[in-house]
């Protein structure tokens, strides 16, 4: 997994609540594309007209925000489908960090599995941040996971909380499958004990063959 220590880059404000994963990446793009090709379809309905021409009003189509690496957005970002492609699509347009009052639960887990930092801040603070990005001469910020600080164009610093375990995993670029496999003896011992307590869970042959 890609490490996340600190990122300095453009932050783009997209202040809409409940942006769902179907909007981040439409289902029709989920098949037949490699992960690294999904950026082309990220926010498709916001970015493009049906003839693929750009919608100039959309924040990420504006020259100031085109190369954004940080997205500042509304409540419940990434709600809906569990598709991890939503994270890959955001990564595909260069996003490393998303700041919002809250995130969809499954999207939240998926992002951290891919070296993407999600930061929860109170709604008022996110709105102030978005307003400052629009009014300041530059919208470059630094997100420092080591220090847990967002440095704004004005010089103001916002501190943020992140789950200690997730923070460490991002800083190290951890491979969780590898780590869990080091505990395989524990997993097998658990299953052995559990077979005695709940044997029916492990009896998974059908009592009768299913009709075809």
């Amino acid at each position: 997994m890609q490490k996340f220590t600190a990122v300095t880059g453009i932050a783009a404000p997209l202040m809409k609540a409940n942006i769902d994963t179907d909007v981040i990446i439409p289902a029709k793009c989920l098949v037949g594309h490699r992960r690294d090709q999904l950026g082309a379809f990220c926010f498709e309905a916001y970015r493009y007209r049906p003839d693929r021409s750009e919608i100039p009003d959309f924040v990420l189509n504006q020259s100031r925000y085109r190369d954004a690496q940080v997205l500042v957005t509304g409540e419940n970002f990434g709600c809906g489908s569990s598709r991890e492609s939503a994270v890959w699509a955001l990564a595909g347009i260069g996003m490393r960090c998303v700041i919002a009052p809250g995130f969809g639960d499954i999207f939240f887990n998926n992002a951290f599995q891919n070296g993407m930092l999600l930061i929860r801040l109170p709604k008022e603070q996110v709105e102030q941040l978005a307003a400052e990005l629009e009014s300041a001469a530059t919208s470059t910020v630094t997100v420092d996971l080591q220090k847990q600080i967002i440095a704004l164009p004005s010089g103001v610093q916002i501190s943020f909380e992140v789950d200690a375990e997730r923070r460490q995993a991002l800083l190290e670029g951890r491979d969780e499958i590898g780590m869990t496999l080091t505990r395989d003896a524990e997993i097998r011992a658990f299953q052995q004990r559990d077979r005695d307590v709940r044997p029916w869970v492990y009896q998974t042959l059908p009592r009768t063959k299913l009709a075809t």
């Binding site: 179907d22 049906p50 419940n76 569990s82 499954i106 499958i177 658990f190 492990y202």
Partner: protein, 453 residues
């Protein structure tokens, strides 16, 4: 739970891992590419649903997507020793329909699947939730997941439902009242006399939309209704083992004095048939209400979202929603593709004809559901009314198998998401119950199913 890790993270043992065609084959390949083996193939089951065609003569290679995905998943499953429910067998269907139907999903189990509507299985008292692609690999390789314990929320639904009100109306009204983000970070228990009186299929519908409440986990305490539902199912325990399992299941319900981090109480007697008007499941009203006016909304962000939703949906504030002409009607999906749903729709359709401006479909949630409905003659009711009667799959809910709503067209759909583009680019989706969808097909416009009942 296998182990308590640091930082409040637990290593959670997984009892059932369900794979579907969108991620199944690719995940098995990724595990093999890393030189890893599937840890417990006997606890893993795979089934094609998202990408499959649903026309009556469909085959595995009917769509370009399904052709590749199904081959990859079937071969990967067979190579790993995973049971694969192939097209044409009674096991095939939408993963969240077949799990309960086959008795694979049981109370107290941890069940995961790479699909956010895995919360459905909570209707049987399972701890079930959707996971992403990396987590799928983690489960395949270790039969565990690293998870943080969620906060708890109880939604109490009390009282007898009014005639013509379905489980779908109950959960849509709940989402409308508490909001689509309210359950975020929580596992939700649905409780109260309304829920206790529901059948398992109705409970599955309620739990299915937990994720639309923001919660990846929704559940209902197992009781006699759940136990009776499971008895005799193909993969449920049998004989003495069933009795042993029952003792365990009956000990699962929440203690009377349990405290929740959040609680909502809803008077279910007041709920009327619901229909969505916008592009979030919380944008919902009773069918006899008027489309809300953004001008009356004080929060500027919310006002903007309402305006954008109404523009996308082609609706005017203040208009009655009843009478809005529709082009497509869809009865199906993991929300409402079960036998009782199909019966609800058939009751409205019987002896009537689909309006000439509407193309209406019934897509049973599983092969077994389809066969059961056909044994009751329900297919004939729909076919003679002018509905299409199709084969099991996610169909018009997934937007990935060729079954879509054309740009600008309006559908009344028994599915779970009215998101922008969900049923196809610029498709306009109204979520509703099976009876409400059937009523729209007959009337040719959004209609109050109670008037046709």
């Amino acid at each position: 739970m296998v182990a308590e890790l640091s930082g409040g993270v637990s290593l959670l043992a997984i009892d059932r891992h369900l794979l579907h065609d969108l991620e199944g084959g690719a995940s098995l390949r990724r595990v093999a590419d890393r030189g890893l083996k599937v840890h417990n193939p006997e606890l893993t089951f795979s089934v094609p649903d998202h990408a499959v065609a649903t026309h009556p003569t469909r085959r595995a290679d009917s769509t370009p997507n399904s052709s590749r995905l199904l081959r990859e998943m079937k071969e990967g499953s067979e190579a790993s020793g995973i049971t694969y429910f192939d097209l044409g067998s009674e096991g095939q269907g939408i993963v969240h329909v077949i799990g309960p139907e086959l008795g694979l999903s049981q109370p107290g189990m941890t069940i995961v699947c790479g699909d956010s509507h895995t919360c459905t299985h909570g209707g049987l008292g399972a701890l079930a939730f959707g996971i992403g692609a990396t987590e799928i690999m983690h489960v395949l390789a270790t039969q565990t997941l690293r998870q943080t314990k969620p906060r708890t929320m109880r939604v109490r639904l009390d009282g007898k439902l009014a005639p013509g009100v379905a489980a779908k109306d109950v959960i849509l009204a709940t989402i409308g009242q508490v909001g689509t983000g309210a359950g975020r970070g929580h596992a939700v228990e649905f409780a109260g006399s309304t829920v206790r009186a529901m059948s398992v299929e109705q409970r599955l519908t309620v739990c299915n939309l937990s994720i639309e409440l923001g919660a990846k986990i929704g559940m209902i305490a197992p009781d006699d209704t759940a136990v009776e539902y499971l008895a005799g199912r193909a993969y449920a325990p049998d004989g003495e083992m069933f009795d042993r399992a029952c003792v365990h299941w009956r000990a699962l319900p929440t203690d009377d004095n349990a405290r929740f981090d959040a609680e909502h109480v809803i008077d279910a007697t007041m709920i009327a048939p619901q229909i969505t008007w916008g592009t979030s499941p919380q944008d919902v009203i009773a069918v006899d209400q008027r489309i809300p006016d953004p001008a009356r909304e004080t929060d500027p962000q919310r006002r903007q979202a309402m305006e954008a939703a109404l523009a996308y949906m082609g609706l005017k504030p203040g208009d009655a929603i009843e009478g809005t002409p529709v082009d497509r009607v869809f009865v199906g999906s993991c929300t409402n593709g079960r036998l009782s749903d199909i019966r609800d729709a058939a009751r409205i359709v019987a002896g009537r004809k689909v309006a000439p401006n509407v193309r209406a479909w019934v897509v049973p949630g599983s092969e077994a559901t389809q066969r059961a409905a056909e044994r009751e003659g329900l297919d004939k009711i729909f076919l003679s009314a002018g509905f299409e009667w199709r084969k099991a799959g996610c169909s018009m809910c997934a937007g990935i198998n060729g079954d879509t709503v054309a740009p600008g067209q309006r559908s009344v759909s028994t599915t779970n998401r009215n998101f922008v583009g969900r049923q196809g680019p610029n498709a306009r989706t109204h979520l509703a119950s099976p009876a409400m969808a059937a009523a729209a097909a007959i009337a040719g416009h959004i209609a109050d199913a109670r008037k046709l009942g």
